[in-house]
């Protein structure tokens, strides 16, 4: 479903701030894979997701989604393959627009936008039924501005919008990191539910090792722009946090440093 072939990215090339963010990433995701991504500060986790989404161009290598080479496609053209949820709950929705308007925008992802009326009656019913699955009472607030919602509600809405029309790949970039623990758990639970129900292929970056172990069928660990650890299936189910820390120091020769991971 997703293939990264020898992907390289260096920021601020040729300056004192030069930073090798991705250093030859090779990764293949099978249809229906739910992969969690962990790693230390500046390991390249978010960069990898941004490169897949086309936020920045890559320096070298190829990115294929469902067999299509998207390496040269701009961000808005790749969007038709992708569903994305950002770390910042403010980024995934338009605050000045209504809930139903945001959902209508997501519902037309990858389609051409014409001079037809933006939302029809049938869609409104469809949005209502989707929102009721969130169980946050949003189904009766279709014409509420998204800016009036809490961070958790906005993130749940972004998630819902991201899984509309079954994207080829769902990219979750630490999407629960900015939420309080209870809301984070709820959003994570919803992510699991949507991925399972829609048989989505997903990449989820997290700083929480426990979450990385308990969710998904495969786990990869990154360090210095490389994938240093990759487990799946039965082997992954047996993993513990201690195993992960040990695996990290073995492959990288240093201690695992992630402020937030240690605090958890």
């Amino acid at each position: 479903m997703l293939e990264l072939k020898n992907v390289h990215k260096t920021f601020n090339k040729g300056t004192v701030n030069e930073k090798k963010a991705l250093n030859g990433i090779n990764l293949t995701l099978e249809d229906g894979d739910f992969v969690t991504v962990i790693g230390g500060n500046g390991a390249g986790k978010s960069t990898m997701l941004n490169m897949i989404a086309g936020v920045f161009p890559i320096d070298d290598g190829n990115i294929l989604i469902d067999g299509v080479d998207v390496t040269k496609l701009p961000e808005h053209k790749r969007a038709k393959y992708l569903g994305r949820v950002f770390q910042d709950p403010m980024l995934g929705t338009s605050a000045d627009m209504w809930i139903e308007e945001n959902m209508a925008l997501a519902n037309r992802r990858g389609k051409s936008r014409t001079l037809k009326w933006a939302i029809n009656h049938k869609e409104r019913e469809y949005f209502k039924s989707l929102l009721s699955e969130l169980d946050l009472g949003l189904e009766n607030r279709l014409s509420t501005k998204v800016g009036m919602l809490s961070g958790g509600q906005r993130q749940a809405l972004t998630l819902l919008m991201a899984v509309m029309n079954k994207p080829k790949l769902l990219l979750l970039d630490e999407h629960t990191a900015a939420l309080d623990p209870k809301t984070a758990a709820r959003v994570l639970e919803l992510s699991d539910k949507f991925i399972a129900e829609e048989h989505l292929t997903a990449l989820m970056v997290t700083h929480n090792m426990k979450d990385a172990i308990t969710h998904g069928n495969r786990l990869i660990m990154m360090n210095n722009g490389k994938i240093i650890f990759d487990v799946k299936g039965e082997e992954k189910k047996k993993l513990t946090v201690e195993d992960l820390l040990a695996a990290f120091s073995k492959s990288s020769g240093s201690e695992f440093v992630n402020d937030r991971a240690l605090l958890n």
Partner: protein, 301 residues
């Protein structure tokens, strides 16, 4: 006082015409969240094109349409400078505005001022018939508000609103934000030029300097409309209507201070101060509410 009341209808007519211009400003300033200074040039372009077309025998509606399209072209240039040349929106607008000064002179065959007599041509609005001018300007305003209400309710219109509101969200949902910005610039400057075409008819001439400070008057109308009617006008069409009312209020206040004895040469200074104050008020309100807030004392452990 009587002379002030006598000049009120004229102020209303001018207010509505400038209010239409303010709707153009609203599209870039509020919907796209960009300050577009092209309008200082495109407003004059609208006036110049209308006068030249009409004097050369074109039908007045056709002349207005051509003025609108000329404004669209100006907006397109700013849009390209911003999205393809990577120039910040404000600077892109200033560049186009500067270029338009020369182009507007060219359109008027090198003359800084071109008369358009209501005696010779069948004009839609004119100082000579202010009640009729108010009605016609209001019909134009209503039609433009109606069309924009429809347009920003379509799929494309929604995607432009999303572009102005949150570019990350827009792109993640497959929206080409650059194209949408260009469309916004085009639409905005088209409406501004149309308003310039109306003003040239109303005052009976076009002038190469008629757009000078137009952005400030447009912003004044938008902001006065928001400050005065923001609480009751929530609907998009009503908010555009608020800009028209803002234009009317602005011109009534202007007429009033002129009657009080303000030197006409000081008008631009006055306009700038009005806009600065109205832009500052929401910010100060926020500061004051923060100062009044006293956090409850907590034990420091």
């Amino acid at each position: 006082m009587l002379s002030f009341l006598n000049s009120l209808p004229g102020a209303v007519a001018q207010g509505v015409i400038w209010g239409i211009m303010a709707i153009g400003v609203y599209i870039t300033f509020r919907i796209l969240d960009l300050a577009d200074l092209t309008v200082d040039g495109s407003f004059g372009t609208g006036g110049a094109v209308l006068v030249v077309c009409t004097v050369n025998g074109l039908n007045i509606y056709l002349s207005l349409l051509i003025a609108f399209l000329a404004g669209c072209a100006a907006g397109f240039i700013t849009g390209i400078l911003h999205t393809k040349f990577g120039i910040p929106a404000i600077l892109a607008g200033i560049l186009t505005q500067l270029a338009l000064y020369s182009i507007n002179l060219r359109i008027m065959s090198g003359k800084a001022n071109q008369p358009l007599s209501v005696m010779k041509y069948n004009l839609l609005v004119s100082l000579r018939n202010i009640p009729k001018s108010i009605i016609i300007a209001c019909i134009f305003a209503a039609a433009i508000i109606g069309i924009l209400y429809w347009f920003f309710g379509t799929e494309l219109g929604h995607s432009i609103r999303a572009t102005g509101c949150n570019q990350s969200m827009a792109r993640a949902n497959g929206i080409n934000t650059n194209t949408n910005k260009v469309i916004g610039f085009i639409l905005s400057n088209g409406i501004v030029a149309l308003s310039g075409g109306l003003l040239a008819q109303y005052q009976g001439f076009s002038d190469v300097n008629m757009g000078k400070g137009a952005i400030v008057i447009g912003l004044a109308a938008v902001i006065i409309g928001e400050v005065v009617f923001g609480k009751i006008f929530k609907n998009f069409a009503l908010r555009l209507f608020g800009a028209i009312l803002g234009g009317i209020i602005y011109y009534i206040v202007l007429t009033f201070v002129l009657r009080l004895g303000l030197n006409a040469n000081d008008l631009k200074l006055f306009s700038a101060i009005v806009v600065a104050l109205f832009l500052g008020v929401p910010y100060w309100k926020n500061l004051i509410s923060q100062k009044r807030y006293k956090p409850t004392k907590t034990e420091v452990s």
